[in-house]
Symmetry: C2
Subunit: 141 residues, 2 copies
């Protein structure tokens, strides 16, 4: 695929991931796509359903918007730097901005590898919120 | 500049930074180049001398080699994913590999902004070694 077609696929994921349906994930990611958050190398998602299952629930608790700051593509890959701005819908934790770079490898117009680089310290409010949610669930009758 | 000329400049930095002279840094980085390790946003280096002063001393204590895994360029920027393999020359701490992505903005064939994304946890042996070295220096008569 051309670099511009690859860029279009990756921008669609980077700018819309919270609201994409499973069908859309399946259209954009290859069946064996490996998606990895580099700070958590052991929690790899393989395939569109796993990626959708991990990312989609975030829209329940957060208003999220995106700014793309740098991006470059070629016939096999797209690298894209972005800021993801998170605001808790209930105000449970403070808003935060996560700067990250995604490295995407593509074949035949689909993403087959996706690696996100970011610093855990910047996403501390998200980690804290996740821990609160897990505790609340465990305490529920 | 063309994307291939930009890529050449950035690869030279990414694959050779420990051994580049101040003259070479001055050739590759603009006078006001801002270099930032994203996990340490407060420790910004501005200009070739500051970047050289920060990076060059690492070759005293470490054997370092590089693997470029993904890279893409356009007329204004280069994004490059690499693994930096560090081995302590004295065996003071264990070897480690640091995966990172560099985002480079260029103008007129020189790098004017350089942002490196990586996870602090992966570089823990380096941080430990730096702390040991600072302590040793403080304890010296």
């Amino acid at each position: 695929m051309s670099s511009s077609a690859n860029m279009q696929v990756v921008r669609r994921v980077c700018e819309h991931w919270p609201w994409l349906s499973l069908e859309e994930f399946t259209e954009l990611l290859s069946p064996d796509c490996v998606y990895k958050d580099m700070p958590f190398p052991d929690r790899v998602c393989t395939g569109p359903a796993a990626a959708h299952g991990k990312l989609s629930p975030l829209q329940d608790d957060w208003d999220i918007n995106f700014e793309i700051s740098s991006a470059a593509a070629n016939a096999e890959s797209v690298l894209i730097e972005r800021v993801e701005n998170f605001v808790s819908k209930t105000g449970a934790v403070e808003p935060f901005s996560l700067r990250c770079v995604g490295v995407f490898e593509l074949a035949d117009g689909k993403i087959k590898a996706w690696r996100d680089y970011w610093d855990k310290a910047e996403a501390e409010p998200l980690m804290r919120f996740m821990a609160m949610k897990t505790q609340r669930r465990a305490a529920a009758p």
